[in-house]
């Protein structure tokens, strides 16, 4: 490693870090503006053009605020928790290629901070450590609402990590590598000459599984239970203020950016795109960064969109979804992918089997839909039974309720509202 290597590597690391911080800051502002647009509001528009510097102002304000240390806290863990949370969120993006490669002299560089063999397992490892930040915060606050929030988030993150892992594993099996650069390289061609060879087409179900789990992992609506402000005040961050609060805040939003970036890397070809003959140059690499940014933005928008649309799930429903829907279907999908890959390797009829993969995805989707229909039917049946029983013995109805009902119906005008199933 000589000076040139060192200089370029430092430039990539610093540039990448700056890009991520910038993306996070822009995302916080962008989310507020976009949700405002969805809700016929204006959103922050005072600081800088279109309010773009709002995040900077908020950050500065938070860091200068008094750092309150509540009486009952466990001091060491109370300090460590936000640091763990933010650091881990920052480290995750190290393995993601955020641009193309370029050559200087005879050496090739890629716009990626670190490209280890274990590749995207790093993402899983980091998000697992991220749980500690939240759990420790909830526990060390020495207060009841944070504790409930911390416990919720442990359960949530552990259950959804499984689903996320299964989504990743099917991509690993499909591509045959854990390394981020190889996963991107495997998606650089085209299917049938026109559709980009993104993993999302053969691995559609893995994509749904992964993205769903990623939303839960980033604790975004509708899965934002650990900090459900309507129930648990602010969950595990209730007792935090000032800079420590800012770190949790930053960590959470950085998770959104990172999860979008991982989704793009795994399923949408990462920074690949038409380069117009700029292969190997710095401009080409930066064009890759541009493609990557655009794709990532789409998924960040989906996060915002969900927040603008959906109410929050209930805790037990969230667990049901994780363990009873995502996990078994994920396992099924991993096995199916493995089988297809095995057959593909044996028969070498790649294109045909890709088609088979798509058909399989359709089948699994039908299965999911079928499962949902079964579930709703299963819920409806006992209710009908109860209705019949009540009809069989009308005398069992409490007399006062019956009297009141009759009395009210004498005045007329009652109209039964249709209750949608």
């Amino acid at each position: 490693m000589d000076l040139q290597d060192f200089g370029i590597t430092v430039a990539i690391v610093v540039g990448g870090f700056a890009l991520w911080i910038l993306a996070t800051a822009l995302f916080i502002w962008g989310e507020r503006r976009m949700v405002a647009k969805m809700q016929t509001r204006i959103g922050p528009n005072r600081i800088g053009p279109l309010g773009i510097l709002q995040t900077v102002a908020d950050g500065a304000k938070l860091f200068f605020k008094e750092d309150i240390l509540p009486k009952g806290v466990d001091k060491v863990t109370y300090f460590v928790a936000p640091i763990a949370s933010a650091t881990v969120a920052m480290l995750t993006f190290a393995v993601i290629p955020f641009g193309g490669s370029f050559t200087v002299g005879d050496r090739e560089y890629t716009l990626q901070i670190w490209d280890p063999e274990i590749g995207l397992l790093w993402v899983l490892a980091m998000s697992s450590i991220g749980v500690y930040g939240i759990v420790l915060a909830g526990w060390s606050s020495g207060s009841k609402y944070p504790l409930l929030g911390g416990v919720r988030s442990t359960a949530q993150m552990i259950s959804y990590e499984l689903a996320m892992g299964l989504g990743l594993v099917s991509v690993f099996i499909w591509v045959g590598s854990l390394q981020a650069s190889e996963i991107v390289a495997a998606q650089s061609g085209t299917f049938f000459g026109s559709i980009p060879a993104w993993n999302v087409f053969p691995q559609l179900f893995a994509f749904i599984l992964f993205f769903g789990a990623a939303i839960a992992e980033a604790q975004r609506p509708p899965f934002d239970l650990p900090e459900a402000e309507g129930e648990l005040v602010a969950g595990f961050i209730t007792e935090y203020s000032g800079a420590k609060f800012a770190m949790f805040f930053l960590g959470e939003f950085m998770q959104v950016v990172t999860m979008s970036a991982v989704t793009v890397t795994l399923f949408f070809g990462g920074p690949s795109g038409p380069l117009f003959g700029l292969e190997g140059t710095l401009a080409g690499a930066l064009l890759g960064t541009f493609y990557f940014a655009v794709k990532t933005f789409v998924f960040m928008f989906v996060f915002v969109w969900l927040r603008g649309t959906l109410p929050r799930l209930r805790y037990d429903r969230l667990m049901d979804l994780g363990w009873k829907v995502f996990l078994p279907l994920g396992l099924l999908w991993v096995m199916a992918t493995a089988a297809v890959v095995l057959i593909q390797d044996t028969l070498e009829q790649a294109q045909v089997l890709t088609g088979a993969g798509i058909i399989l995805a359709a089948l699994v989707l039908i299965l999911i839909v079928g499962a949902f229909i079964d579930r709703s039917r299963g819920e409806a049946e006992p209710a009908e039974d109860e209705g019949e029983e009540a009809e069989d013995e009308p005398l069992a109805l409490p007399s006062s309720a019956e009297t009141a009902r009759e009395g009210a119906s004498r005045h007329g005008g009652a109209r039964q509202v249709r209750v949608p199933k």
């Binding site: 809700q39 409930l148 919720r152 309507g230 129930e231 959906l310 119906s409 005045h411």
Partner: protein, 441 residues
């Protein structure tokens, strides 16, 4: 009562309607040791984002399951009820309008109807005043239900429902401001009629709001009614069957969601409600989702009533003829805002000493009401809002006792909280729509 009839199938939620609940405020150190019996006592409120103001609930939790719920009220005590005893009859309006601050006009109306009853002038109130009272209170009902949708949505994390609800409410408040000069706490309905007549553009503006509102409620319905998460969060939560409702005195949408079509506008019509054609929406679900559906339908019904009232709005005065009761004023718009008309001032100041004395006596002392007591109830957005007014024959009420539906509904909270999760408690409390201003008056 057999178990099979209970709509709620949750484990451990069987609460006998006949059970007695003794609510005692206590000190923290007197509570059972939370660690010893594995229960956690958690204080939800009075400062909590989802307790509709300053309701405090002492929840005993086993994990996240509620073992018991003791609502504790009194954090917003204003002394309004007591204060009315020290003011003339007319001034009571400005007090009571501040109780249930989401339905100020209903408070005014119920109080004024009670005062009119005690004065024996119920039939002398002009037709126009009655019709305008119907229009204004029904608009107020719409705005109150919209706030309920907004806060209920917010508590479930649906920020868009929140914004939609408050945005649509704004158009109603604009109308009320246009009519009375104030967005809330109008003091516009007075004993004997209204403070003044509505402006010229009233008819057109209300009609426009009515037609716009239908579309906008449709938008809210698109967002929530069949939203799987919304349905899942509300269905089967906060179940109170008809028997439980009756034993706790629960009225309004919670009672109607249990299938009893009880609506005072139908059963004890006031202000000529018997002339209007409207339905009383009911469901048989007895849960939070049924209450949501009922409130949405009630908005449509209210709009129907408003349009019918506009169609038949008669001309004429808006205050009783009796000069001993009607406020002695002829309001007009002057260069410095609204005030007594110049012609009226010149008459009492320059021409008629008797008129001046009459004005002075009525404004400072007010009218006296014959001794006696009356109870007048109206259907507020939350349920039966009753005013029990007692007079000892002087110019002030002897006692004004308010039966506020929010207070009664909070009393029923322990009955349907047991066995719910913390998240469901929020939904259950929201579903009865308590307004603490009315609870703690």
């Amino acid at each position: 009562m057999t178990d099979t009839q209970r709509p709620d199938r949750r484990q451990g939620s069987e609460v006998e309607p006949s059970s007695e609940f003794t609510v005692v405020a206590g000190e923290w150190q007197d509570l059972p040791d939370a660690v010893e019996d594995d229960l956690m006592v958690i204080n939800m409120g009075p400062q909590h984002p989802s307790t509709h103001g300053v309701l405090r609930m002492k929840l005993t939790l086993d994990g996240e399951t509620v073992v018991s719920n003791e609502p504790i009220v009194g954090y917003l005590h204003t002394g309004i009820e007591k204060n009315t005893e020290y003011r003339p009859w007319v001034q009571g309006v400005t007090f009571v309008t501040r109780m249930d601050y989401l339905a100020p006009l209903h408070n005014e109306l119920a109080y004024c109807l009670a005062v009119e009853k005690i004065l024996g002038i119920t039939d002398e109130v002009p037709e126009r005043a009655q019709a305008l009272r119907v229009i204004l209170t029904e608009l107020n009902r719409v705005s109150s239900h919209l706030v309920w949708i907004a806060t209920g949505g917010m508590e479930l994390g649906s920020t868009t429902a929140m914004i939609f609800g408050f945005r649509e409410r704004e158009s109603i408040l604009d109308i009320l401001e246009y009519v009375s000069g104030l967005r809330m706490n109008h003091a516009f309905i007075r004993p004997g009629g209204l403070a003044q007549d509505v402006p010229d553009e009233f008819d057109a503006r209300v009609r426009q709001v009515c037609s716009e509102m239908r579309d906008r409620i449709g938008e809210i319905e698109d967002l929530l009614t069949e939203n799987p998460i919304w349905v899942e969060r509300n269905k089967g939560v906060g179940v109170m069957d008809a028997e439980t409702c009756l034993s706790y005195g629960v009225t309004g949408p919670p009672l109607r969601s249990a299938g009893i079509a009880q609506d005072l506008r139908k059963s004890q019509p006031y202000c000529g409600f018997e002339q209007y054609d409207f339905d009383v929406p009911i469901t048989d679900t007895a849960d939070a989702y049924g209450r949501y559906l009922i409130r949405i339908q009630e908005i449509y019904e209210s709009l129907r009533i408003v349009e019918q009232a506009l169609d038949r709005l008669p001309g004429g005065p808006v205050m009783v003829e009796d000069q001993k009761i009607a406020w002695p004023a002829q309001l007009a718009l002057g260069p410095d805002g609204i005030g007594n008309a110049n012609s009226y001032i010149s008459r009492i100041m320059g021409q008629s000493m008797e008129a001046l004395i009459h004005h002075f006596k009525l404004v400072t002392e007010g009218f006296t009401a014959p001794a006696g007591q009356v109870y007048q109830a109206i259907e507020s957005p939350r349920g039966e809002l009753g005013y029990h007014v007692t007079s000892n024959g002087t110019n002030k009420p002897y006692r004004v006792k308010v039966r506020d539906p929010s207070f009664v509904h909070i009393g029923a909270l322990p009955a349907f909280s047991k066995g719910l999760g913390v998240a469901d408690i929020i939904v259950a409390v929201a579903s009865v729509d308590p307004v603490m201003g009315g609870v703690d008056r």
